[in-house]
């Protein structure tokens, strides 16, 4: 680092830190969905990345359809596409839960394997339906460009947008979990499934909604992802290990932990990638996480919930 002046170093840190915030947003949204599903049902969803890819493809198709049939709608379609990405991923999630996951509850290792089979099938489906090449939606004008804060320091608007989106989703999720009737039932089921069943909560329905919600958030993550990179059949699988590490190192089922570890991992990766090269930065980040997990396996904010 010797060859940089102090000021340059500061700019680099801010720039890399900011590009880390985009990665943070995607990781956070992925991690929230995974943590919700894992915390609620003990299900490890290896196909989570494919739900994210589904959200990204939804945005892409909305963009092509808008261009073709309603070019005037161009500037606004993106917001509708995010909502649609949520709905479509959540619907597929509910279907998958009904067909597969509900038969595997309390066998976490088996759900891990079965959902991996599902992810293979989904990836191949994307390849057959949407083609093997990577696609990018046409983003509306207002998402392009950047603010210039000062000389040599540009903040891209799409980064700000994605960050805002993930903050809104997180806020909604927290409100939903802690201020709604469904959230109350969900938390009750996580804490004591049998007792919740005994007091009349339909735990099966809670599970299905929670799984759908988690998958829907993955869909939003995919929509956010389209502003950062292009989407291919296997873009989901590129993020899945990172997303799992976010959940595990945050302490499972802890929203605060998820937030903190997504931030830490994204920033470490983004800053290290600048000073080491791409893969070395990633390897260093992963190594640090794994070593940290060996020392503190329960994660940053372990949940205090007793076993089911």
């Amino acid at each position: 680092m010797g060859e940089y002046t102090n000021e340059e170093l500061q700019s680099i840190l801010i720039m890399q830190g900011f590009s880390g915030l985009s990665l943070f947003s995607v990781l956070l949204l992925m991690g929230l969905g995974l943590a919700l599903i894992f915390g609620q049902m003990g299900v490890i969803n290896m196909a989570h990345g494919e739900f994210m890819a589904l959200g990204a493809y939804t945005v892409y198709y909305c963009s092509t359809l808008t261009e073709k049939f309603a070019p005037a709608f161009g500037p606004y379609y993106f917001v509708a596409a995010i909502a649609l990405a949520f709905v479509i991923s959540a619907l597929l999630g509910a279907l998958v839960e009904w067909l597969m996951i509900r038969h595997l509850y309390r066998r976490p290792l088996d759900t891990l394997l079965a959902t991996w089979g599902l992810s293979l099938i989904l990836q191949q489906s994307y390849r057959s339906l949407f083609g093997a090449r990577e696609v990018t939606p046409t983003l509306p004008e207002w998402l392009m460009g950047s603010f210039a804060i000062k000389e040599g320091l540009d903040i891209p608007i799409n980064g700000v947008f994605v960050l805002g989106l993930s903050i809104i989703v997180t806020a909604f999720l927290i409100l939903f979990l802690f201020r709604s009737g469904f959230g109350l039932r969900l938390r009750a089921t996580v804490q004591n499934r049998r007792m919740s069943g005994a007091v009349g909560i339909n735990t099966g329905k809670v599970d299905r909604l929670a799984f759908a919600l988690g998958c829907g958030i993955a869909g939003i993550a995919g929509a956010a992802f389209t502003t950062i990179g292009s989407t291919g059949p296997d873009s989901g699988s590129r993020y899945i290990v990172d997303a799992f590490l976010v959940v595990v190192s945050g302490g499972t089922a802890s929203l605060l932990g998820c937030l903190a570890s997504a931030f830490g991992i994204a920033q470490a990766q983004s800053i290290l990638e600048f000073f080491l090269d791409g893969t070395k930065g990633k390897v260093a980040t992963l190594l640090v996480i794994v070593l940290a997990l060996m020392i503190r396996p329960q994660g940053l904010f372990p949940s205090k919930v007793r076993g089911h």
Partner: protein, 397 residues
């Protein structure tokens, strides 16, 4: 001899299954298959070493490692480094700017052999490293994690991350490891050409014999007290711990043993295939190794080897003919196996009611009070979930 057989095989059925596998691999394949196909089968069988380790680790002890590719790769890379050094003697590499070092190092402007390559000039050290390096790495990882009672899903995710780290690390250090292309163009083992048809036949039989030794050894372990403790740890970890067993040490030992077997498989893979690359040790191959085991049967050593043969054979034939359908088929098979036959194809055999089996089930039912768990240990897998140690172990902290 009969006594030994009885220690290794509990039932006549197991001995017959073993005999059938022996016949298939040692007699039928070599007679009917051309050398090219035989070499492919030999390659599939090297995954059998990993599968045997996974049967002990996952089926018997309830620990799922998604990083067995790491150990396969470590063993394979040790062997590949030795072969590469032998293939790059100063005479054959005289056109390089630095003769005597592997070609990919020369392309990456390295002028001297890295220090960690030096010991791999010796064959005895290489053979030692093939066993010891994977075992030592597994021991460190296992000890760090099991001592803190990390198990189940957490262990699976951490081992998966380690697989990613190693494959990215090898990928990114091209000068030292050959990078994404891996270590290729391997020719001789101590002067013996490993690419000739004759050598491939011999290597096939060598890996078969080693596999059978491993199978017998593992079956022996399963039938000893250690094997029973493993199952006990899988089903009721806390009770085994309260009874005074060092659960962490036993798990670490099994993990290191499985890693050693994987490393041996990796070394034999390199000898038969002639290259090693990070694409063989990443996340997807590591999960595929779990699939072979699951499809064949996670509780049965012989079943797991059959799983390796069947899935790999299917992969080769189907992905040649219908590359698109193969992933659907693979994914679908895997979901079906996990959902409907958790004990794999071999588990299906247990479902066939035999006269003897029916009586013994009836007697067992009469002896046990109603509502108690089934006496069949295979049925007591985490399938019912209530006693699954994996997730609970972490929540008790």
């Amino acid at each position: 001899m009969p006594l030994l057989l009885r220690t290794v095989f509990k039932t006549r059925g197991e001995a017959i299954a073993f005999g059938a596998l022996l016949l298939l691999i040692l007699v039928i394949f070599p007679i009917f298959l051309p050398v090219f196909r035989l070499n492919l089968v030999g390659k599939y069988l090297t995954f059998g070493f990993v599968a045997v380790g996974l049967v002990l680790l996952w089926g018997r002890c309830g620990i799922l490692s998604l990083g067995q590719g790491v150990f396969f790769g470590l063993g394979g890379y040790c062997m590949a480094m030795f072969l590469k050094l032998e293939a790059s003697d100063p005479v054959t590499t005289s056109i390089q700017s630095t003769p005597g070092i592997p070609d990919f190092m020369d392309w990456n402007q390295l002028t001297a052999l890295p220090t960690f390559w030096e010991p791999f000039k010796s064959l005895p050290f290489t053979i030692f490293a093939v066993f010891f390096v994977p075992a030592a790495v597994a021991f460190i990882i296992g000890w760090a994690l099991f001592k803190r009672r990390v198990g189940g899903v957490y262990f699976a995710i951490i081992t998966q991350a380690i697989a990613l780290i190693l494959s990215l690390g090898i990928d990114g250090n091209q000068g030292y490891t050959g990078g994404r292309n891996g270590i290729t163009d391997l020719r001789t083992l101590n002067g013996w050409d490993i690419r000739s048809e004759n050598a491939q036949c011999i290597l096939y039989f060598v890996s078969c014999s080693l596999l059978f030794i491993v199978v017998l050894g593992s079956k022996y372990i399963i039938n000893t007290r250690l094997g029973r403790v493993l199952v006990a740890i899988r089903d009721r970890e806390d009770r085994v711990r309260f009874s005074g067993y060092n659960v962490a040490m036993i798990r670490t030992f099994v993990f290191a043993f499985a890693a050693m077997l994987s490393g041996l498989g990796g070394a034999l893979f390199v000898l038969q295939v002639g290259f090693m690359s990070p694409s063989i040790i990443g996340i997807i191959p590591s999960i595929e190794m779990v699939i072979f085991t699951a499809v064949g049967g996670r509780l049965s050593v012989i079943g797991a080897i059959l799983g390796c043969l069947i899935v790999n054979w299917g992969k080769t034939t189907f992905s040649e003919a219908y590359p698109d359908l193969w992933l659907y088929l693979m994914g679908g098979t895997f979901i079906a196996v996990v959902m409907f036959f958790p004990n794999g194809l071999v588990g299906l055999l247990d479902k066939i009611p035999t006269q003897k089996g029916r009586y013994s089930q009836l007697i067992a039912r009469l002896r046990k009070p109603p509502g108690s768990p089934s006496p069949d240990e295979d049925e007591a897998l985490p399938a019912d979930g209530t006693n699954n140690p994996s997730i609970r172990s972490n929540e008790h902290q």
